[in-house]
Subunit: 234 residues, 2 copies
DNA sequence: GACACGCTTCGTCTATGATCAAAGTATGGA
DNA sequence: TCCATACTTTGATCATAGACGAAGCGTGTC
C-alpha cells in the first residue's frame, strides 16, 4: 500500500459500482476495447434506456468509463487499462478454484498470454518493442494517438510469415494500436494485425496455447523463426 | 477473456461483496498478510460482532477470505494473492488520476516495487529465485508450506550486507515466507527478513525508491554489489 | 419549423441489504 | 459442572438502490 492512507470509501464505491449486475455487463461488454453507445449498452445489459443512463452516469462518476459525445450519440469506453485490469482480476476470482495450469516449461517461454485475441504479457511487450525498434511498426499518420501502422518492411515480413495484411486492414476493427498491457505496464500490439500475427504464429506452431488458459508458450520452432525472421530472441 | 463465457453474476457478487464499506475495511485490514479474528475485524470495521459475523460469512461465501478455526477463535485471512491483487487494483483506481510517476530509467531497473515493506515485482522474484538457487534460502523444516529459512550461508551474506538476522528472527511477524507475487505469478521473499533486506538495501543505497510510488529502482552501486556479493546481475 | 432519434431527468414503487439486540452454540479454563 | 469468552443465528427495523414509464432536452435531418 502506498504511504498515503487508503480511502476505503472510494474503493467500496468503485467496487459497488461494478457489483450491480447490469453495470457489470456493461463494463465487460467494453472490455473488447471498443466504444459503445448508451443504447447499445442498454441492450447488452438488458435494461431500459433510462436505467442504462443512470447506471452509466454512476460508472462515469466513479471514473470507470469515459464518454465521447458526437452529435446526439454518446460513446462509452473503459476509462483506462487499470479498469480493464481490475475487471480481469475480478474475472479471475470469479473463475473459482480452477487454478491456472502451469506447464513445466521454462518461465521465459510462458511469459505471454492472449489479450482478447492478440499477444500480451512479457512476450507481447517484447515483440512490440522489437517491431518498433527494427522499423516494422510506426505511429500511424492520423487517427488516435495510440494508432500504429506497419512500415513497408513490416508488411513484407508479416506477409512472409503468413499474415494477410490486406485482410487485416479491411477488417472493421482497428488495424493496429498500442494496447497498454496491464501487468507489464507497457504496450503490446493490439488490433486486427495483432490478432492476425498471433493467429499466424499459432497456425505455424511458433506459439502454442496452453489448454484452459490464456497463457501462450513459444515453441522451439518459434524461437528459431523469430530469431531468423525478426531478429528477436526469446 | 478466456474462451469460457464469463459469469458476470459471479463477478458482480464478488465486486458487491467488496463494495460494502464495512467489508472493504475488513479486506484491506487483511492486506498485511496477517490473520485476524472475527472480533478484531469487527472493531477494525467499526461494526458490531454480529454484523461482522454476517459480513465475514458473505466474504467466505464469495471465497475472498478463508478461515482457520482454533478453539473458539476464528482467524480470517485473504483467500489468495489474487484477492490481494484485485484489492490492490481497486486501490489504484481509487487513487484517482494520480498517475504513477515513471522515471526515465531503463525498464529493467524499474521492475520492482515494494509489497508492503518487502521487495516484489520482477526484481523481487529474481532475487528470490537466486537466493534459493545459490543456497541462501531453503524451505523451513516446520511451519506452513510457504515458510522459508536462511541457510548458514545465507545468514552470513545477509549479515554482511547489514541485515540484523537475529532481530528479524525475534520479530513478532513471520521470519521468511514465499510471498506469491501477483503480477509475476511467482514468489518473492516476504516476512521480517524480506523487509530487513529491503531496508538494508535502501539504506546502503543499492536501491532507491521512487517518490510517490511503490516502485523501486536498482542503483548502479546496487547492481555492482548484488553481482559481487550474491552473483546476481540485474 | 416540424419531426425523429438519442439520451437524460423525474417521480414512484419495490426489493434488498445493513444494522443491532437478544438469544443460542461452541470452546476453554477453573 | 459452572462460568466466561468468542462467535453465530434470529427477528425487527430502516435506509438505499434498481426498476421503468413519462416527460423533457439536445441534436440531426428534411
Amino acid at each position: 500500500m502506498d504511504v498515503k492512507e487508503l480511502d476505503e470509501g472510494a474503493v467500496s464505491r468503485i467496487a459497488a459500482a461494478i457489483g450491480e449486475p447490469a453495470r457489470a455487463r456493461m463494463l465487460y461488454a467494453l472490455l473488447d476495447n471498443r466504444a459503445r453507445t448508451s443504447t447499445e449498452l442498454a441492450m447488452l445489459a438488458d435494461v431500459s434506456p433510462s436505467t442504462a443512463s443512470v447506471h452509466l452516469s454512476r460508472l462515469k462518476t466513479e471514473q470507470l468509463v469515459r464518454v465521447l459525445v458526437q452529435g446526439k450519440h454518446r460513446y462509452y469506453s473503459l476509462a483506462s487499462p487499470d479498469v480493464a485490469g481490475v475487471l480481469e482480476g475480478l474475472s479471475v476470482l470469479a473463475g473459482g478454484s480452477r487454478a491456472e495450469f502451469v506447464p513445466n516449461t521454462p518461465n521465459r517461454l510462458r511469459a505471454a498470454r492472449s489479450c482478447y485475441d492478440h499477444l500480451a504479457g512479457t512476450l507481447g511487450v517484447l515483440l512490440y518493442d522489437r517491431f518498433e525498434s527494427t522499423g516494422l511498426l510506426e505511429p500511424a499518420p492520423r487517427g488516435r494517438d495510440d494508432s500504429r501502422e506497419l512500415t513497408p518492411k513490416g508488411v513484407k515480413l508479416f506477409e512472409a510469415m503468413g499474415v494477410d495484411v490486406n485482410e487485416a486492414r479491411a477488417s472493421r476493427r482497428r488495424f493496429a494500436f498500442a494496447c497498454l498491457d496491464w501487468s507489464e505496464r507497457r504496450a503490446h500490439l493490439g488490433g486486427a494485425i495483432g490478432a492476425a500475427f498471433l493467429g499466424a504464429a499459432l497456425k505455424k506452431r511458433w506459439f502454442s496455447s496452453v489448454r484452459d488458459s490464456r497463457a501462450i508458450v513459444v515453441t522451439a520452432l518459434g524461437s528459431r523463426e523469430l530469431a531468423a525472421r525478426f531478429g528477436i530472441r526469446v
